[in-house]
């Protein structure tokens, strides 16, 4: 009896969930559809069936090579994430396992550095980058994004590490493990899921960062955000081409996100889930 009801309600819930999911996904779906339309079709009003032309993708690729900005995006996003993790893990570890009364203040202060409005510090940062020769360099951009996201990374790792029971560390100490041994053999394996999901979130944030990545680059280090900016709002029709460029820019991160969503979920909860 219970089974029959639950199947019926399952169908009902399925219908509702799919409807909501499709509504939320619709703008992205429509972008992909538009990328397969001709330019006049793209502005001709609502139409879900494109003429399946690939001319926009061809046009986008001949106008601006996709590969180099794609590589730059990968290098900058992955590089800034790795660097950020290397710096943040020890800090978050010490905050989680040897907290002092100032730990919370330090965390709060770190987060507050993220609140500086980018436009207000553009000139100082630009001058610094110029003087250090970092303009239009992947190293400069990697550093920049690492610093921007470092507070979030430290914070995520901190909340994640706090979930690790202190008893395990005590036990390890009893067994005479050194401090580094403690981190390496006890803590790291337990923290790997947290670190992995922190990295994933950071890659997404770095990939989508669209202020500094455009303002501090010209050609050599320009990532996909700059690629998009070269297709947005020229004089003339551009919707289909912009949609194609957007699809190209979103696709890698979307695919990565799809494959890693479970990992992502675990880190995003900040250990709210055990």
């Amino acid at each position: 009896m219970a089974r029959a009801i639950s199947t019926r309600s399952k169908i009902g819930w399925t219908f509702a969930a799919w409807a909501v999911a499709l509504i939320i996904f619709f703008p992205i779906l429509y972008t992909v559809i538009t990328s397969l339309k001709t330019e006049p079709e793209a502005i001709a009003g609502f139409n879900l069936i494109p003429s399946f032309t690939l001319e926009n993708y061809v046009e986008v690729q001949t106008q601006r090579d996709y590969f180099r900005p794609f590589m730059n995006s990968v290098i900058i996003a992955v590089g800034s994430t790795l660097l950020g993790i290397i710096i943040a893990v020890p800090a978050a570890w010490s905050m989680a396992f040897s907290p002092t009364h100032r730990t919370k203040d330090i965390l709060m202060w770190m987060l507050s550095t993220k609140m500086m409005p980018a436009a207000a510090v553009l000139v100082p940062i630009y001058l610094l980058f110029r003087d250090f020769g970092l303009l239009d360099s992947r190293i400069g951009l990697t550093l920049m994004l690492m610093l921007i996201n470092l507070p979030i990374v430290v914070w995520m790792l901190y909340t994640y590490f706090r979930e690790i029971p202190g008893e395990i560390l005590e036990a390890a100490r009893m067994d005479g493990a050194s401090l580094w041994g403690e981190i390496w053999y006890v803590l790291t394996p337990m923290a790997v899921p947290g670190i992995a999901s922190t990295m994933l979130l950071n890659i997404i944030l770095a990939w989508n960062e669209a202020f500094w990545t455009i303002r501090l680059t010209t050609t050599n280090a320009a990532p996909l955000t700059a690629f998009i900016a070269s297709f947005s709002s020229p004089q003339g029709l551009f919707w289909a081409k912009l949609s194609a460029a957007s699809t190209l820019a979103i696709a890698p991160i979307l695919i990565m996100g799809w494959f890693s969503q479970r990992q992502l979920v675990r880190g995003l909860t900040f250990g709210a889930v055990k």
Binding site: K10, P27, I28, S94, L111, A272
Partner: protein
């Protein structure tokens, strides 16, 4: 197991802890203090980027000028409305969505993928898509739907500029909230749920007395992280309304953007930046007080 006892090992740990914290603290200090010091310094100067030969000391004039900007008061208000509006939509919507996705459904994996996708879209692209393909009163999807039902299409960016931007930003952040809340929800002990059902608690009561308290910490995380990002939204405004009509969609970051990158008024923008940092820290302080306890368990 108190973590702050006073054995030898702990003292050693303490020293090591400082040592390990040092790189990120020093980096962030440098990162914060150098540009901040320059910003504070510039904020006391008459300095227009397009007229660099004519830089002079201005005292507190830039601050007075920024604070008396006709758009200033409304921009603060708009900033708060934007943050609160998006938080409200994403938290409430996120809980509802999480409850929905927590039900037994066919194709749960695919549904979840569809729901989290907006999080991967770059903000300027999201704004362009929404402005022109969804919300445009002439050829947007909303207008087509309205026309289908014989209604007058809504001119979103003229009639409800701030709401339009809230919708766009909320769309981008809804997946984030849903994901966190969904996983928190799924961790709720099914035995507890069943016990509550046995006791005859209806859905609403179960939600209020069991589910919601369980979600408290996840909700706190959503609010904290999103607030940090929402306080600095400007790209969506730039692409859609340019802060108009009037000052109806001008928020503090956009006002600073306008001063810095349209007016090239480095002095004024720096003063605005300092003001924004102070205000953001006040918000953060109250936020931590209000919800921070949830993080301590």
């Amino acid at each position: 197991m108190p973590r702050e006892d006073t054995t030898m090992a702990t003292r050693q740990t303490r020293t090591l802890a400082r040592f390990m914290m040092a790189p990120s603290v020093i980096l962030l200090l440098f990162w914060m203090i150098v540009p901040l010091a320059m910003t504070v310094w510039f904020s006391f100067l008459n300095y227009n980027l397009l007229n660099p030969g004519n830089v002079s000391f201005a005292g507190l004039f830039n601050y007075r000028f920024f604070l008396t900007d006709p758009a200033f008061v409304q921009s603060i208000w708009n900033t708060l409305l934007l943050v609160l509006g998006v938080l409200l939509i994403t938290v409430v919507g996120g809980i509802l969505l999480a409850l929905l996705l927590d039900q037994p459904i066919f194709g749960q994996g695919i549904v979840r993928i569809l729901v989290i996708s907006p999080f991967f879209v770059m903000p300027p692209v999201a704004a362009l898509v929404w402005k022109n393909m969804i919300m445009h009163p002439g050829y947007g999807v909303f207008a087509d739907i309205a026309k289908f039902f014989g209604a007058q299409p809504i001119d979103w960016f003229a009639q409800y500029p701030l709401l339009s931007i809230i919708i766009i930003v909320a769309w981008q952040w809804l997946p984030f909230a849903t994901l966190i809340l969904l996983t928190a929800l799924q961790s709720l002990d099914s035995e507890q749920k069943e016990a509550a059902e046995m006791d005859g608690a209806n859905f609403v009561n179960r939600f209020i007395y069991l589910t919601l308290p369980h979600l408290a910490r996840a909700i706190t995380v959503v609010i904290l992280i999103q607030t940090i990002f929402l306080l600095s939204v400007y790209a969506e405004i730039l692409v859609t309304t340019n802060g108009g009509p009037g000052y109806a969609s001008t928020n503090l970051p956009f006002l600073i953007y306008r001063t810095a990158l349209l007016g090239y008024d480095v002095g004024g923008a720096s003063a605005g930046g300092v003001i924004a940092i102070i205000l953001a820290n006040i918000v953060a302080f109250f936020l931590m007080r209000a919800v921070g306890k949830n993080l301590d368990r």
